[in-house]
């Protein structure tokens, strides 16, 4: 594979082609459609494109158009650009991009971070941006030395002409380079020449994160800023009926109480005054149409729906016929609950609204969408609205809301306050604020032939769509099927000879949203657990069964074999220990995991996860390891503890005492193995999560014979 040479105009097309199925361009109705604004490029520096600036002192600033929520794009994207630029790594720093169409996701057409696509989508554009800057610097030096550009080379922020022994620092060339025209075609490096890409370089954001100076939106402080807390109706779809704000307004520091539609805001001089003010509000609610909702009622409704087929999402062969003539049929149901994202930094937003302009600070994953919503809410020309992306204290998809819920709420409060305002959601607000991973019910059946091989596989899925009613609908819902509801199942890599996946999309008064790994967070649990059931029913080793069904799928098999081998699958275990295995392909990456458990003192102890990943060419292997370590903990938390439940229309949980988090003493060892690969770099933020729950539950079955089909596990499931 030679060094690709890509003309500047073509990068969007090429990256989309590399993306295959990602060739979708969302058209966001309210976003500014203006072209790249030259006002974006800061003065004084050499800024050949929107992604890099080189100062005269040699500092290289990479403009990061992705949100940093821990998954490491700030460092990875810098590495991609800096490698092609041949920059001296210690001189490289970053800034978060403003909102502008030039920063749109090349595949999705809007500026956003999600779908584990940052590296995938931005690899070529970042490399191209670095290569372009390098080309101009080389040309500037060549011009000064009256030599050919091709006679020069670059190394660690120097252009060097070996023949004459001359060298010039990038900083010294910046002025001259700024005056040159970008050539039409700029070659990219052959991967064998990478100096930075592929190395476990230290993260650029770590120092500020360990000394307390990293700025999250909740940390932003403006002169004269007020703080607002909002009382939200306890049932989704309700609203305030009567507001008695007298006691609240009497609290020193409280400036205003205002109904902003999504709730009743208390605007005050400090968080504590706002909190005391909110506690003093006397509110009557019209609870609305969902006051009778309960988890028990929903579960019963979903179970009933699963009795019959939904809309067909996939049909291969004659699944019903093959099921009817099967020698043995397994027919079971799996249930997964609503899940909160619960990022460590509760939702918040700072808005500085002036007469004809606005500045917003938010840890957003959805720049274009939030910018458009904020502008529309304030009735301002989007060109006059600046949205600053800060660090995110966790996102997991919650900060990518098509409804821009907390952003719009903050703008409305700013409109009332007529002063800069920071909206803060408390943990309780955040936990009860909706936009959960949907609740899911699966009915899944396998028909085995006389030899125990799978003859038919039928999977009925019941749950909500969070895409319907959003501008994403035309792109993601096809023929009535929401792709995110059935992903991981309808597009399974397993070779089932007769296959049906069908979907009942429900309408429930609980707002839902994508949650780290989206549909795969439920389909992988169901499929990998049920496959384990089939393996045991047909007396086949779970690994062997997967090998058979994944024949001809080298990337799936590759991680499966690697994880199995490293975990010692098939070798004797310590007495009282058991292993469970799972493999899943999501967001173009492949992950397999083996969990090892035992019972200690009568309680489940998760000793270790052995994880193998194929995410194509790795930019920073340390980031990959970190993301998979994190996915173990994130996945385990959901498996063992997490559920958002409803009673009388209200969300029951409110904080970490009843939405329990995995803590350090329960974290297993994690061993990560990365498959070397030359394939295009694919995602790592989400692909680790789906395999964690089934690997664990398969291990529990191996140890106890108890098949666990409902998440989260109950206390009695965790005891021997």
């Amino acid at each position: 594979m030679g060094a690709p040479s890509i003309g500047r105009r073509r990068f969007l097309q090429v990256s989309a082609a590399l993306g295959g199925g990602l060739l979708i361009g969302f058209v966001w109705p309210e976003s500014a459609r203006a072209g790249a604004s030259t006002a974006l490029l800061p003065e004084g520096d050499f800024a050949p494109n929107a992604f890099v600036r080189i100062a005269t002192d040699g500092r290289v600033t990479v403009i990061i158009n992705k949100s940093e929520m821990g998954q490491g794009p700030t460092t990875s994207l810098c590495m991609l650009l800096a490698d092609e630029l041949d920059a001296d790594w210690p001189k490289v720093g970053f800034e978060f991009a403003p909102v502008d169409p030039v920063y749109a996701h090349p595949g999705f057409g809007i500026q956003m971070t999600g779908g584990s696509t940052s590296t995938f989508a931005m690899s070529i554009p970042m490399r191209q941006a670095g290569a372009a800057a390098r080309a101009l610097l080389v040309q500037a030096a060549a011009n000064a030395w009256h030599v050919e550009a091709s006679a020069c080379r670059t190394e660690k922020s120097f252009v060097i002409h070996d023949a004459s022994g001359r060298r010039s620092a990038y900083g010294d060339l910046a002025d001259a380079a700024a005056r040159l025209t970008l050539p039409a075609d700029v070659p990219l490096k052959d991967p064998k020449d990478f100096r930075l890409i592929g190395k476990p370089l230290k993260r650029l954001d770590t120092p500020d994160k360990v000394n307390g100076t990293a700025v999250f939106a909740i940390d932003v402080h403006l002169p004269g800023m007020l703080t607002a807390l909002v009382a939200h109706v306890p049932v989704f779809g309700g609203k305030a009926k009567r507001i008695d704000s007298a006691a609240a307004l009497a609290i020193p520091g409280v400036k205003q109480v205002v109904d902003v539609g999504s709730g009743v805001a208390v605007i005050a001089s400090s968080f504590w005054a706002a909190k005391k003010g909110r506690d003093a509000l006397k509110l009557e609610w019209d609870l609305g149409p969902n006051a009778g909702m309960s988890s028990a009622g929903l579960r019963a409704q979903y179970k009933k729906l699963a009795e019959g087929p939904g809309m067909v999402a996939r049909e291969d062969g004659d699944p019903k016929g093959a099921m009817n003539s099967a020698a043995q049929v397994l027919d079971v149901e799996y249930e997964l609950p609503y899940l909160a994202h619960a990022p460590m930094e509760p939702l918040n937003c700072v808005v500085d609204l002036r007469a004809d302009s606005m500045e917003i600070w938010a840890g957003t994953q959805f720049q274009t969408v939030d910018h458009a919503a904020a502008s529309a809410t304030a009735g301002l020309d989007p060109q006059k609205v600046k949205l600053h992306t800060t660090f995110l204290g966790g996102g997991f998809g919650r900060r990518a809301n098509p409804a821009s819920d907390y952003i719009v709420e903050a703008v409305k409060i700013a409109m009332a306050a007529k002063a800069p305002v920071k909206l803060v959601w408390t943990r309780d607000d955040d936990m009860r604020g909706g936009y959960y991973r949907p609740m899911w019910h699966s009915r899944i059946r396998a028909g085995l032939d006389a030899s125990g091989a799978i003859a038919s596989w039928m999977h009925t899925i019941v749950g909500q769509s969070f895409i319907v009613g959003t501008p994403f609908e035309p792109f993601i819902i096809k023929d009535g099927i929401d792709g995110t509801s059935v992903e991981g199942s309808a597009d399974t890599d397993y070779a089932f000879p007769n296959l049906q996946v069908d979907l009942h999309t429900t309408t429930v008064g609980v707002p839902t949203l994508w949650w780290r790994s989206v549909g795969h967070s439920h389909t992988a649990f169901v499929i990998e657990s049920f496959l384990d059931e089939v393996a045991h029913a047909s007396k086949t080793d779970p690994l062997e069964l997967r090998r058979k069904l994944l024949a001809g799928k080298p990337r799936n098999l590759g991680v499966l074999e690697l994880a199995a081998e490293k975990a010692g699958w098939g070798t004797p275990l310590q007495h009282g220990h058991a292993r469970g295995i799972a493999v899943h392909h999501s967001f173009e990456s492949y992950v397999a995991a083996v969990a090892e458990i035992s019972f200690e003192g009568g309680r489940l102890r998760v000793h270790k996860y052995t994880v193998a990943v194929d995410c194509g060419r790795v930019v920073n292997p340390d980031t990959v390891q970190a993301q998979l370590q994190g996915a173990v903990g994130f996945g385990l938390t959901a498996t063992l503890y997490s559920a958002i439940t409803l009673e009388a229309g209200r969300v029951v949980q409110s904080n970490f005492h009843d939405y329990k988090m995995l803590r350090v003493q329960e974290m297993p060892q994690v061993e990560v193995h990365i498959m070397p690969s030359e394939e295009p770099s694919t995602g790592i933020g989400e692909p680790g999560v789906p395999v964690m729950a089934p690997a664990l539950c398969n291990a529990i079955f191996a140890l106890t014979g108890k098949r666990l089909r409902n998440l989260p596990l109950r206390e009695e499931d965790l005891r021997s």
Binding site: H221, W272, F391
Partner: protein, 155 residues
């Protein structure tokens, strides 16, 4: 009401509602935003600071209880344990989103002040109040061991 605090070695006299949790006095009045708000209920540890050398969850400590005491936050300079932990945290890139990490470091600092060779169960006992949603726990544990070793070795 005027309250005198000693924060990171500096005496400050502040006019604040005495019932205000120390967390908000630090973050808003003093603009020391390294200490984080995660739950407001002593459930997550993101707000951990030291009060006379002991770890407290500043989200539930009323500032009135702090008068005359020494408050140490993540912004402190020259604290032996905090510095060693920050170095160890950086050496193996512990943080992901980073929001919980100041609290993690402040809790771990108490452990290292009280024991030179913390065992894994010491780490469990000390750090179980600090939630990390990104689940960086494997590296937190490693970095604590590294920091302890570096302090023992006199680095």
């Amino acid at each position: 009401m005027a309250i005198e605090l000693n924060v990171n070695g500096e005496k400050r006299t502040l006019d604040v509602d005495p019932s205000t949790p120390l967390l908000w006095v630090l973050r808003e009045t003093l603009e020391l935003t390294g200490t984080k708000f995660g739950c407001g209920a002593a459930q997550c540890g993101a707000c951990t600071v030291h009060l006379d050398g002991h770890a407290v969850r500043s989200c539930v400590v009323p500032v009135s209880a702090v008068a005359g005491k020494k408050v140490t936050t993540i912004e402190v300079s020259g604290n032996r344990e905090v510095s060693a932990l920050q170095k160890a945290w950086t050496a193996i890139d512990v943080p992901q989103c980073g929001y919980c990490q100041p609290g993690q470091i402040m809790s771990a600092a108490v452990l290292l002040a009280e024991t030179t060779t913390p065992s894994d169960s010491d780490i469990d006992a000390c750090m179980s109040g600090n939630v990390c949603r990104c689940a960086t726990y494997v590296r937190i544990r490693s970095a604590i061991h590294d920091a302890a070793a570096s302090l023992k070795g006199g680095k």
